[in-house]
């Protein structure tokens, strides 16, 4: 009996030590090189960034890039308060660049290092520069709903023609625009947003069908796969990636919302110079082309358009053909109204008074 116990304990200890050794055994001592910590959105997007940006940068500049988790805007504000940031470069959305820049949470960029001449005008700011353009599209499962194409927002609200649950991103941004466009507002007269009208339209949808909300980029794909939603908003790159994997998903660029994804450097970042070099690196035309080749997010450097094949251009939201159909979000307006609308969005979710 005693021998068995001793053997058991030995096996247990050996197992624990084995797991720990296996886990912490790294082939090369990574601490020797300089590190740059980058936070991005994961999934197909980050894989494309890895191929187009991270790995070439590591090779050329002999540094090691550490990929941190999803960008957490709240944490960036907390770093401003605590004085130490754990991430050097963050991939963020437009409203955050304006909002956080105003609040002083970001480092002012060194414009000399950027190819400002060839960047799109709306893609540069004092505190951030956009590395790509993406669109939030309407997506659906073409196996369950065959024969649909080019859906607009009024179709999204049409529960008679396309019955079933709808999925939105759990943010007022883009959702309010969608509601207004579905209600007949013309894209030129969208801003400033008639918020009350938008929420009324959302209430109308809520009365007719179930609404599900997503927060992470691949949730829409899961929803469309297991029928939690019949129509969903989604990022066009993720849908394209799912299509490449063989999933029967379709998307529409009609009235899709065009937006940029920006690089910012938190105020308290440790490797500011390296971060600036990294950002400038990602804006090179060949790097921008490499990103487009891996995921259909558009370049912000005008020099990158030459040499892209036609079939890739069709899927890129800010290509000349698609630019006519997409809606460009007014991010300055959003930067001012984001906070109050997040609170109002929360109240709407709970079904509270207007």
């Amino acid at each position: 009996m005693k021998a068995r116990k001793i053997v058991g304990i030995c096996i247990g200890v050996a197992a624990v030590l084995g797991v720990l050794t296996w886990a912490f055994w790294s082939p090369a001592p990574k601490n020797a090189e300089q590190q740059l910590v980058v936070a991005s959105w994961g999934g197909a997007y980050q894989t494309a960034q890895r191929k187009a940006f991270f790995e070439p940068f590591e090779k050329e500049f002999k540094v090691h890039i550490v990929e941190a988790g999803t960008p957490d805007y709240g944490k960036i504000y907390e770093w401003q308060r605590s004085g130490a940031a754990s991430i050097d470069v963050v991939d963020v959305e437009t409203f955050f660049v304006f909002q956080a820049g105003k609040k002083g949470a970001l480092t002012r960029l060194d414009r000399d290092l950027l190819p400002t001449a060839s960047l799109m005008k709306s893609a540069v700011d004092d505190f951030g520069v956009a590395s790509c353009a993406y669109a939030e599209v309407i997506a659906w499962n073409k196996k369950r709903n065959p024969g649909l194409s080019d859906l607009k927002w009024s179709d999204f609200w049409d529960t008679e023609r396309i019955p079933g649950p709808r999925a939105f991103r759990d943010l007022p941004a883009t959702t309010l625009e969608a509601a207004l466009l579905a209600d007949g507002v013309s894209p030129d007269h969208l801003y400033p947003l008639d918020v009350d009208r938008a929420f009324k339209k959302l209430d109308a949808l809520r009365a007719k069908t179930k609404i599900v909300l997503w927060t992470a980029g691949s949730e829409p794909i899961e929803f469309l796969k297991d029928r939690t939603a019949v129509l969903s908003t989604a990022w066009n790159g993720r849908i394209r990636d799912a299509q490449n994997e063989g999933m029967p998903l379709e998307m529409s660029f009609n009235q899709a919302t065009l937006d940029w994804l920006w690089w910012v450097i938190p105020k308290e970042a440790k490797n500011k110079e390296l971060a600036m070099k990294f950002i400038a690196f990602t804006l090179r035309p060949d790097r921008q082309r490499a990103l487009v080749e891996n995921i259909p997010y558009g370049p912000t450097n005008e020099d990158a358009w030459t040499g892209l094949p036609e079939d890739k251009l069709r899927q890129v939201p800010n290509s000349p053909a698609n630019m006519k159909r997409v809606i460009i979000r007014d991010n300055k307006w959003w930067a001012e109204h984001e906070t109050e609308l997040v609170d109002r969005w929360r109240q709407w979710k709970l079904g509270l008074g207007k």
Binding site: V16, S26, G69, K143, S218, E245
Partner: protein, 252 residues
């Protein structure tokens, strides 16, 4: 007739508890991008993903954190259990009991907010306190139950024979509830192993425990590596659980 009904009820309960595991574990070897249910293709990619650096670090972090906080919880819990079992009417015993139950009652996220406000983001060490705290009520209950079943006059008998309280504690009480202490350690480890709230809100970007990494990757990348983790580690834990439960049940 009643017999059939009771069997059906118990069967439904067991089914409800086991079905999610039965469905989710095979996902560790299935390529679930194919539409429809269940998925069709066999793949090892989740196990390959398990071998990447961030998952290995997460597994080691969870393991280390679990062992450390379980050990601390058992030590502190044993001390508290001794106090409450031997002097149950004292003020200290009552205060301890109330505070320990309070840990179960209080929402962990409130504690997390407080720690975050004070310490901001941290590494693994910042998780030791919350995990130990969470494990404490479980370890305490287990060990207290064991100690309360020992004879109440044990301490006096030992001191009459010349032993100090400390050595009585170490050489009489602890061995007397050996099984309960092992159970307490195991339960405390499980509490830390599956703890997600503190891991999500208190740690920085490079630090992960398994629940935190699973939460992020499942939603961001449709990553099912956590199924692979559970297939491997979960079976080991389940084995320990089976042994423990059988001992507890057969002891009566």
């Amino acid at each position: 007739m009643w017999k059939l009904l009771t069997v059906l009820i118990v069967g439904a309960i067991v089914l409800f508890l086991i079905a999610p595991i039965v469905i989710a574990l095979p996902m560790a070897v299935s390529d679930q991008t194919a539409l429809g249910f269940p998925a069709e293709q066999f793949t090892c990619k989740w196990f390959e993903e398990l071998a990447t650096h961030r998952w290995r670090e997460a597994m080691a972090s969870s393991l280390l954190l679990g062992l450390v906080s379980a050990a601390l919880a058992v030590v502190v819990g044993a001390l508290a259990a001794f106090r409450v079992a031997v002097w149950p009417a004292s003020r200290a015993a009552k205060t301890l009991s109330i505070l320990i139950i309070a840990v179960l009652i209080v929402p962990p996220i409130w504690l997390a907010t407080g720690y975050f406000r004070l310490f901001g983001e941290g590494g693994l060490t910042v998780l030791i306190l919350p995990h130990t705290l969470l494990a404490l009520p479980l370890a305490f209950s287990c060990i207290w139950y064991g100690m309360s079943r020992l004879h109440p006059a044990l301490l006096d008998a030992a001191s009459l024979l010349g032993a100090s309280q400390l050595s009585t504690f170490i050489r009489v009480y602890l061995p007397g509830c050996r099984g309960y202490i092992i159970a307490a350690f195991f339960v405390a480890f499980l509490a830390s192993w599956d703890e997600s709230v503190f891991s999500l809100f208190l740690t920085g970007p490079n630090i992960s425990t398994i629940p935190k990494l699973a939460f992020e990757t499942m939603r961001m990348d449709r990553d099912l590596t956590v199924a692979a983790v559970n297939l491997v580690a979960g079976t080991a834990l389940a084995g320990c659980l089976v042994v423990l439960l059988r001992r507890i049940d057969y002891e009566y």
